[in-house]
Amino acid sequence: MSFHKHTLANGLTIIGEISPSTRSVAVGFFVRTGSRDETPSEAGLSHFLEHMVFKGTPRRSALDVNYDFDRIGASYNAYTSEENTVFYAAILPEYLPQAIDILADIMRPSLREEDFTEEKKVILDEIGMYEDQPMFCAYDHARKAFFAPHPLGNSVLGTTESVGALTPKQMKNYFARRYVASNLTCVLAGNFNWDEAVKLIESQCSQWSTGDAPREYRTQATPRELLTTITKEKLNQEQVILIAPGPAADTKERYAADTLTMIVGDDTGSRLYWALVDPGYADSADLSYHDYDGAGAYFGSFSCEPEDTAENLAIIRAILTDVQRDGVSNEELAIAKSKILSRIVRGSERPMGRMQALGMSWTYLRTYRTVDEELQSFDAVTLKDLRDVLDKYPFDQLTILALGPLPSLTAT
């Protein structure tokens, strides 16, 4: 296992971790941009642009892009979050040159007007798809309630209206602003030759424009305690989301925060599991930690029969209060560490998983961390670390949102 790094004159950073025993190689471009970097009139643009990247370049039509990926048997896709847009492919080692050729090419898309019009229809359909998924809707509303006016509350998809109003000119401006070379990182992991990969990437990407792509509001949100109910009479179950502030991605406290949510809200064996799922009160209940650039949050969620919602909410609040006051036990900490260790090791075995972890670590910390270093950081978490993170980011200030058939929900 060896790590390498190279930065081109225009600011594009290339990082790679070689593991000769793997059978594939994964390569991805991480763009530090997402819905939080959109102005209100651009809502949904980052995600729409992610689709348009696959619609062709001066060298390739949209069909050529897909055909070329398929010809090398690539597993490829892209995703957009609040603050990252990632394009990636996993291939057999012999196809790395072609994969780099396609990925680097599509990172400078043509953004043709006729493709824009056609693809807008696909995005509107995708928005419709998520409208039919209650848990997704609840998350989107809850994030907005928690973060707004902080831009981390922006919806990744946008709305039918906001996407409907987008123009090719807006997209070209956004692209010029956000896709400058210095705002991208090319990440490789698996079985490959570093020098060869750098040469290929350099030959294709050294002409990319450079410049700054600053990000505003790299601060924590300032949420209010809030309980909102969104009534959807046609639904059968009630979905509830709870959000509380947590540490940001570039803090050491994130290890403690992650460990804490494993103890309180993992989908099995956690405090929430025993209190809500095991007795059959809610068919799912969890608490997880999400770290962002300059901000962080704990997200709790559960779904259940509408009439049980208030009681279940009271149970969760009691657990959070309990943990906040008394902390957790040594035994709980030890078990959480075993689960984390196993998940990290297994998640890192495939180049695709490792490439994602490397990319995220670089995006937020600008450092390389081996799997073992990451394991050591979790292993070093103590009960005092958990106490400190609880004191600094208490659970008791909650933004709560319920979506489902209930006309209203009151806190008990």
């Binding site: 025993s21 793997t22 059978r23 594939s24 696959f54 949209a62 069909l63 897909n66 055909y67 990926f69 398929d70 010809r71 090398i72 048997g73 690539a74 597993s75 996993a90 291939i91 057999l92 056609e118 693809e119 807008k120 229809k121 696909v122 995005i123 509107l124 359909d125 995708e126 419709g128 798809m129 409208e131 039919d132 998924q133 209650p134 046609k234 639904l235 059968n236 179950q237 099995t268 064996g269 025993w274 799922v277 095991d278 007795p279 059959g280 009160y281 068919d283 779904s303 259940c304 029969e305 030890a334 075993s338 689960k339 260790l341 196993s342 998940r343 090791v345 297994r346 075995e349 495939r350």
Partner: protein, 411 residues
């Protein structure tokens, strides 16, 4: 680097498989137990699912909490899921923890407490699962599609009905365990960095004296087929289309896979290109292959906004019918590349391999080598796929739609 597969079938019928993968730190364990929901008593559908939830609520000398702590302390991610014919008990952790994991799984399968006082919470969860399905248009559409497409009871929903869940008793759960969970026809597969002799000895010790009768055979009723619309006030219309294919292990299996890949193998495949890329009709469209031992089918799925649903259905069906008109060399080259990559990349995952070797053994009574699969993929040609599609043409569709308006299946 050829992977080595070891095999042993014990006197009681239990089959043990190991694929040795020495380049990874993890290992996965996979039990394929012939205890799927198709064996649910007709009056108590949902029983297999309820049973699968109960088996980890205490087993051997551990109660529910102690068992969970034991699993978690070993870092085992595990699941007990119910399919049509099999219950799959799966676990994955570091290779060094596999031996103690097997002790726990032996307790779960052979000595579950199935505590009567835990039945009510599990029934409550099962009822919520049914309720949740009503809020999940895609899931609901696929459940109702399967009910029509496959001969009963192969297509029945593992969730059962509210009434059938209520009828489940502690005694029926015990009876299900006695009748369906035993060594006969059960396949235990392990993949990862693990020694064969040690594994075989341990499994002999844990499962060698396990007794049980062969599972009952199923009587199948003819499939309903036809076209069904379920009216629901949703933003999108869900569309599922199915037609018969050849089962896994059939001489033309790889040609059938070739046809599916031409339709839906990558983003350059026909359905994605024609439905999404060229016409912008919808976001999600795909085709997949599903198989039992004696019968198989191709199932297409799409979801589109109400006003574009009819055209989505028309274009999808037209693409199925167009297969016989011709397939290019370039298309088949892409198909081969995609299939070959996925075969090799699967070798990086202990979970994938544990599942794959168990599946091969169930269908073929042997495990295919990578080389055999590669050669078969290499032999796929446009001519062979077309001949296959002529023999097994896309027709007699089972179609299920769910949404605001019914659709018309094109002639």
């Amino acid at each position: 680097m050829a992977l080595q597969v070891h095999h042993h079938t014990f006197a009681n019928g239990l089959t043990l498989l190991l694929e040795r993968m020495d380049h990874v730190r993890s290992a996965a364990v996979n039990f394929l137990v012939p205890a799927g929901c198709a064996y649910d008593p007709p009056e108590q559908t949902g029983l297999a699912s309820v049973f699968s939830n109960l088996i980890t609520r205490g087993a051997g000398n551990r109660d529910s909490r102690a068992l969970t702590i034991a699993f978690d302390s070993l870092g085992i991610d595990h699941s007990e899921s119910v399919g049509q014919l099999h219950m799959r008990v799966w676990g994955s952790t570091l290779a060094r923890n596999i031996a103690p994991s097997l002790e726990l799984f032996a307790d779960v399968l052979r000595r579950p407490h199935l505590p009567p006082d835990e039945l009510e919470p599990v029934q409550a969860l099962a009822l919520q699962d049914l309720q949740g399905l009503e809020d999940d248009p895609r899931g609901k559409a696929m459940v109702e599609f399967r009910r029509n497409f496959w001969p009963a009871p192969l297509g029945q929903d593992k969730r059962g009905t509210p009434e059938s869940i209520e009828r489940i008793t502690p005694e029926s759960v015990q009876a299900f365990h006695r009748a369906h969970v035993g060594p006969h026809s059960t396949i235990l597969s392990v993949a990862g960095n693990f020694e064969w002799p040690a594994l075989r000895d341990q499994v002999e010790r844990l499962f060698g004296d396990w007794q049980g009768e062969p599972a009952a055979t199923l009587e199948l009723k003819p499939a309903l087929g036809g076209q069904t619309h379920l009216e629901k006030d949703t933003t999108q219309t869900q569309i599922a289309i199915g037609y018969a294919s050849v089962p896994f292990g059939h001489p033309e299996y790889y040609d059938a896979m070739g046809a599916v890949q031409v339709l839906s193998g990558g983003m350059g495949a026909r359905l994605f290109t024609e439905v999404r890329d060229k016409r912008g009709l919808c976001y999600a469209v795909s085709a997949g292959y599903q198989t039992f031992k004696q019968l198989a089918g191709i199932v297409c799925y799409a979801a589109a906004l109400t006003e574009r649903a009819q055209e989505t259905l028309n274009v999808t069906i037209a693409e199925l019918r167009r297969l016989v008109d011709g397939i290019t060399d370039d298309e088949v080259q892409r198909v081969r590349a995609g299939l070959k990559s996925s075969v090799i990349m699967q070798e990086e995952s202990t979970s994938s391999r544990a599942a794959a070797i168990a599946s091969d053994w169930y269908y073929l009574s042997r495990v295919r080598t990578t080389e055999e699969i590669q050669n078969a993929i290499e032999a796929i040609t446009p001519g062979r796929i077309i001949e296959h599609v002529k023999k097994y043409p896309p027709r007699d569709f089972t179609v299920l739609t769910l949404g605001k308006q019914p659709l018309v299946v094109p002639e």
